[in-house]
């Protein structure tokens, strides 16, 4: 920008001069970069061929031969290294999604709490933010993981709730619904019920808008959400069986196991990120002009209503862009999983696979490319969101 201004202010010959100078400068930069790249690639090739180090991506099809503690997709020791990578990626996505939801909930509560008129609540929330923002996540992760482990009993002394739920230092065990043939009909029923309920809600809103009278639809909505799937469930003869966790040998088997690594990582990520989200929420709420709140009160809206209808929608526009970048850094921070043995992408692929194959360059490049892709997707979505809302802002 500075240059365009300057360029215009100079006479022709000088403009020419700058023009050529800039082209030469850029050519030089490119050349230097190309030389550097060639030099480094040359070094790698000589080093690898000299010492007979394998290279290339053929290893992705080789048998992995190791076990993974948590697999969301089918995986056995006979699967390939490439498959192991997908297992790791799925685990990264799982822990990120859970932590994003949890950190958002905690973050909003703490952020609103910091603005509370209750002195004690406000101070407690401030203390939360100041304490957790100023300590390394890695330290907090170690604390939560080993803290959680230390607090839980061994498998034979498990804390149990009825016969179906058990908690010990191997994880939380809950009954698991096992789908039988025809279960997709039930899922279809559930989605259809939700869709119908949503449609009813919209219809009621429209009626209110048009006529000023809001029809009572909540019972119909409830019916759609619950009765419809229930009916399908009955009609299909309950196509589910329950797998109950049972104490056999060393530990519980069957059911669904939530491993402590997942719990520890989720706790650390959500509690840490929530401190940042709280600050974003607070800044967002403070950014809404004071007059907006007063105007809402003057209109006779109750506090909760003015929050929900006036303040939050305006604050959200300020909150969402930085929120998205917090989500992104949470996802990247989930790579600390390697420290506590949670089998995420970095731990499985850049840890075990890298060590078994020794192909550092290929593997680290792939891992970085995957994270980069995730980042770019989120950035893209954010830009779309900003563009969509730019028109509404009075800027």
């Amino acid at each position: 920008m500075a240059i365009t201004v300057l360029q215009m202010s100079k006479h022709r010959a000088a403009w020419r001069d700058t023009h050529w100078r800039s082209i030469i400068l850029q050519a030089l930069v490119l050349l230097a970069l190309a030389v550097l790249a060639a030099w480094m690639i040359g070094n790698v090739t000589t080093a690898l061929s000299h010492r007979h180090v394998a290279s290339g991506f053929a290893f992705l099809d080789h048998t992995a031969g190791f076990g993974i503690a948590q697999t969301l997709i089918d995986y056995t020791e006979e699967s390939s290294y490439g498959r192991a990578m997908w297992v790791g990626l799925a685990n990264t996505v799982l822990v990120s999604v859970i932590s994003i939801v949890l950190s958002t909930v905690i973050g909003f509560i703490v952020g609103i709490g910091r603005l509370s008129s209750n002195w004690l609540v406000a101070k407690l929330c401030t203390a939360y933010v100041e304490l957790l923002r100023n300590m390394p996540l890695l330290l907090q992760l170690l604390f939560w993981y080993f803290g959680v482990l230390a607090a839980l009993p061994g498998p034979r002394e498990s804390l149990t709730l009825g016969s179906g739920i058990a908690l010990n230092n191997r994880g939380l065990f809950i009954p698991l619904l096992v789908q039988q043939s025809g279960s997709w009909l039930v899922w279809l029923g559930i989605f259809a019920g939700i869709a119908i309920a949503w449609g009813l809600y919209r219809w009621a809103g429209k009626r209110q808008h048009d006529t000023g009278h809001r029809p009572t639809v909540w019972w119909a909505m409830l019916l759609a959400i619950f009765a419809l799937p229930a009916a399908v469930l009955y009609a299909t003869g309950v196509p589910f069986t329950v797998s109950w966790p049972e104490l056999t040998g060393f530990n519980y088997s069957g059911g669904l196991q939530v491993i402590p690594e997942l719990a520890g990582l989720t706790l650390a990520l959500s509690i840490y990120t929530a401190a940042y989200i709280a600050e974003i929420v607070r800044a967002g709420l403070l950014s809404v002009a004071r007059g907006q709140h007063e105007a809402a009160q003057a209109l006779g809206l109750r506090h909760t209503h003015s929050l929900r209808l006036v303040l939050v929608p305006q604050a959200l526009r300020v909150i969402i862009p930085p929120l998205a970048s917090e989500y992104l850094s949470l996802t990247k921070n989930s790579s600390l999983a390697i420290v506590i043995g949670y089998p995420d992408l970095v731990s499985v692929f850049a840890g075990t696979v890298l060590n078994q194959t020794g192909q550092a360059i290929e593997i680290l490049s792939m891992v970085m490319a995957i994270y980069l892709t995730l980042s770019l997707i989120v950035s893209l979505l954010m830009n779309l969101y900003n563009r969509a809302h730019a028109g509404q802002d009075a800027r």
Binding site: N43, T46, N118, N134
Partner: protein, 373 residues
Amino acid sequence: MTPPVTAAPPTAFHRKRPVKKIGVLGWLHANLFSSLFNTVLTLLVLGLLVWAVPPILDWAFIDAVWHGTTREACETVGGACWPFIFQRFGQIVYGFYDEAARWRVDVVYVFGAVGLAWLMIPSLPRKGWVGAALLTLYPLVSFVLLSGGWFGLPVVSTEKWGGLLLTLVVAAVGIVASLPLGVLLALGRRSTLPVVRILSVVFIEVWRGVPMITVLFMASSMLPLFLPDGLELDKLVRALIAVALFNAAYMAEVIRGGLQALPRGQYEGAAALGFGYWQSTALIVLPQALRTVLPDIVNNMISMFKDTSLVSIIGFFDLLGVIQAGATDVDWTGPNTALTGYLFAGALYWVFCFSMSRYSASLERQLSQGDRR
């Protein structure tokens, strides 16, 4: 709380006494018990505090062990194991740095502390000179002192650096190196030269898009392969390069924010004065842009400082690494050692980061006062 009103003469304005707004009771009423909801909240929070705080204090201080020289001292007690910290204090502060040469580290610590204090205490003069010395002369002197090899100082190889020393070295190098790099990248991203702009964008987005741990892995196990035989970069140097480049990308985005916030008139004014690109950038644009984002720069430094703990994953014995290693050391392993170590490390990190965040907040206040016209 209905007051006796017998003495009050009947008046036309017969209404309840206004709620007391001053004094302890008044304060309590206004801030804690103003409504039913608030009262419930207050009680809940109080309950939470009573439930959580005393056991923590008990563990950390009352049930804790304070004296002893080996793990046996802490084995039977259910509280913090402070002798571990006392006995290992040298390692926590200096790592494995040669004991005879530790005075060199102390000199570096003292110079750094005095320099920073000078900058932060408003009444002291010549801040510009001190700041410049802190950014140029100080790293040089520290480097000479810490690594040795000059002026007859014996060499202390970087494998021996550790503890707080290593944490501060990584943080300081990250901070000092990322500022100029960040400025260049931010200017590059706003450049009109397409090659420069695209390269800057790619550089910034790639580093910001990947987790720091992969960058450190790259520095520790991939970068050496890209160097020719005979050129071996010290492992610490490689990690420092990675940290500096990684942080530069984040710094660049902060500084770009400052450049964008600058009114167009400033650029035009510089052009009207006949300044060239570099002149106007160095004399007009950057000083103002950096000033506006100074609080954000300090916040960024806090993140960098915390992120230095990640070097423990690639085998450095930084503050966290030394404590972790010490807690599973045959001499000190025990039920409460690790937790005591984490508590101590956490407190140290917290003191550093919290002071920086206070400083950043006070800068923000000063700046916003300056803007009030």
